[in-house]
């Protein structure tokens, strides 16, 4: 059969249209599915796998996790009823209504502080600003609110979760890594988690730690859960905010649309950036039962988020182009598969989108705001995702604002 290559109907001269992705080349060169797994790039099949009750978590150390003591295991590694119950117990913290009525106040309070720092005029690292936003919001949801300061909390969390890049290969490298990790986790436990637990034993609040205290989680269980929320809520959002800012600084038309559009339009822009630049690249699942036409029993499947997000069957033509109207036109959920799908879909997806939207809206309205230096894009092989470092932003108050 002579299949015609797909052509962009908008006349961009390339068979698949313009490619607006910034992380794709790096990802293609470095992405490493779990050995022995079968990669699924088709959106519909990937969704079927992730929604199936016949799969269990795999990859990301899931295979090394001892599930015989679920009270010591993060919800991330659990499946079935227990997983669902744990997530349901704290679902209200992530509900759209809670985000607006409770978390928006935290987001704006953080932005007041960051805006004041930016208005001092010195160039500041964008990933540090975005990390502070992500830490403040996640800390509120998790209940890490009794630390000496949120900046120190951010530093300690980062020292645990960012350490993957320091890891040297080999036995000695692993031993040094484990020793360092023990110290860092211990510091986080003493300085952040212990005071938070003590405060909640006296007076429970509406947050994850209060739930864990009420359920008598073990110390290990609490640490694991907090670090899971920390990793998901803080590290990934930090990267996405920088990535979205980079696109908006680079593209004046998109920036104009972002600053003149309403909240729905801003969200559509961010979701489309996330479709092209998903922070997580793949999700692994092990089939515990066969599903005809989809998977065989025992098979490990690697659902490629990056491939699924550019599957023309669901994106329509020109899948690599940044087109904020795409999702509405195609009648699909805007982030496509960037937050995963099925029971393990990212619980904080809406939180991340709201904090990114508010961060960028407030920052880009500052008079004279500019990207002093672009980020360097690097690959974190531990989490199999991109990291953006070195971006500097500054504002010159003498310059007019792009938009009031």
């Amino acid at each position: 059969m002579n299949a015609e290559p797909a052509k962009c109907p908008y006349g961009h001269g390339q068979k698949l249209g313009r490619d607006d992705r910034k992380s794709a080349r790096l990802a293609e060169a470095n992405i490493t599915p779990q050995p022995g797994s079968r990669v699924v790039g088709d959106f519909a099949i990937g969704r079927e796998v992730l929604r199936s009750a016949k799969v269990r978590q795999a990859g990301a150390h899931a295979d090394d996790t001892d599930l015989s003591r679920p009270d010591e295991v993060s919800f991330f590694f659990l499946d079935g009823d227990l997983h669902r119950k744990r997530r349901a117990a704290v679902a209200g913290l992530f509900a759209p209504k809670t985000i607006v009525t409770r978390h928006h106040a935290v987001m704006h309070r953080t932005m007041d502080e960051l805006v004041a720092r930016l208005q001092e005029g010195k160039p500041l690292p964008l990933d540090e600003l975005s990390f502070q936003m992500a830490v403040d919001v996640t800390a509120e949801i998790v209940g890490l609110t009794d630390s000496d300061s949120n900046r120190n909390l951010a530093r300690r969390i980062k020292s645990v979760l960012d350490s993957s890049l320091d890891r040297k290969p080999g036995r000695i490298g692993n031993m040094i890594f484990a020793a360092k990790m023990l110290l860092r986790v211990g510091r986080f436990y003493r300085k952040d988690l212990v005071p938070a637990i003590a405060a909640r034993r006296k007076e429970p609040r509406d947050d994850v730690i209060s739930f864990m205290v009420g359920e008598n989680y073990s110390r290990k269980g609490m640490i694991m859960e907090c670090l899971s929320y920390g990793g998901a809520g803080m590290m990934t959002t930090r990267e996405f905010i920088v990535m979205a800012a980079w696109h908006l600084f680079d593209n004046p038309d998109l920036r104009t649309r972002y600053l003149t559009g309403g909240e729905a339009d801003q969200s559509a822009i961010l979701e489309e950036i996330l479709r092209l630049e998903p922070v997580a690249s793949m999700l692994h699942r092990r089939a515990v039962e066969p599903q005809p036409g989809v998977m065989e029993e025992g098979e490990v499947l690697c659902v490629s988020i990056r491939e699924a997000n550019v599957d023309e069957a669901i994106t329509g033509p020109c899948p690599f182009e940044l087109d904020p109207d795409r999702a509405k036109r195609m009648k699909v959920a805007g982030p496509y598969m960037s937050f995963g799908d099925g029971p393990h879909r990212c619980p904080g997806a809406q939180v991340a989108l709201h904090e990114t939207r508010i961060f960028l809206d407030r920052m880009l309205r500052l008079p004279g705001i500019r990207l002093v230096s672009e980020p360097k894009i690097i690959w974190n092989s531990m989490i199999q995702g991109y990291e953006l470092r070195g971006a500097l932003v500054a504002c010159d108050p003498a310059c007019p604002s792009w938009y009031a």
Binding site: A88, A91, G92, A95, P96
Partner: protein, 106 residues
């Protein structure tokens, strides 16, 4: 195909031809019903695909499932007959279903 009618908070009536075997939410989104947001894509997490049923339809379809109830509760929707449309699979038994959508989903 199954006929389903959506009535929004302003009283505007829209009828769609829904496909069997997939959720009412997916049918609504495909049919351009803007009042169904479904920001989580149909995973029973966000509560932004809520529909309000008549007493008759509520009796036929039953109340929310085990995981659906807490999501509806956190949405703050106080209507006595709320369901998440992502949890309602369209079958021929839904022929003629009429649902109302809330003024705001989030």
């Amino acid at each position: 195909m199954v006929r389903v009618t959506f009535i929004d908070a302003g009283g505007i009536v829209r009828e769609i031809e829904a496909s069997e075997g997939i959720s009412l939410m997916e049918n609504a989104v495909a049919g351009g019903i803007d009042a169904i947001e479904a920001v989580c894509g149909g995973n029973c997490y966000c509560g932004t695909c809520r529909v309000h049923l008549t007493p008759e339809w509520y009796e036929r379809l039953g109340g929310p499932g085990e995981y659906e109830g807490p999501v509806i509760e956190t949405s703050g929707d106080g209507h006595p007959r709320v369901r998440l449309s992502c949890q309602l699979t369209v079958t021929e038994a839904l022929e003629g279903l009429v649902v109302e959508t809330p003024a705001a989903q989030s």
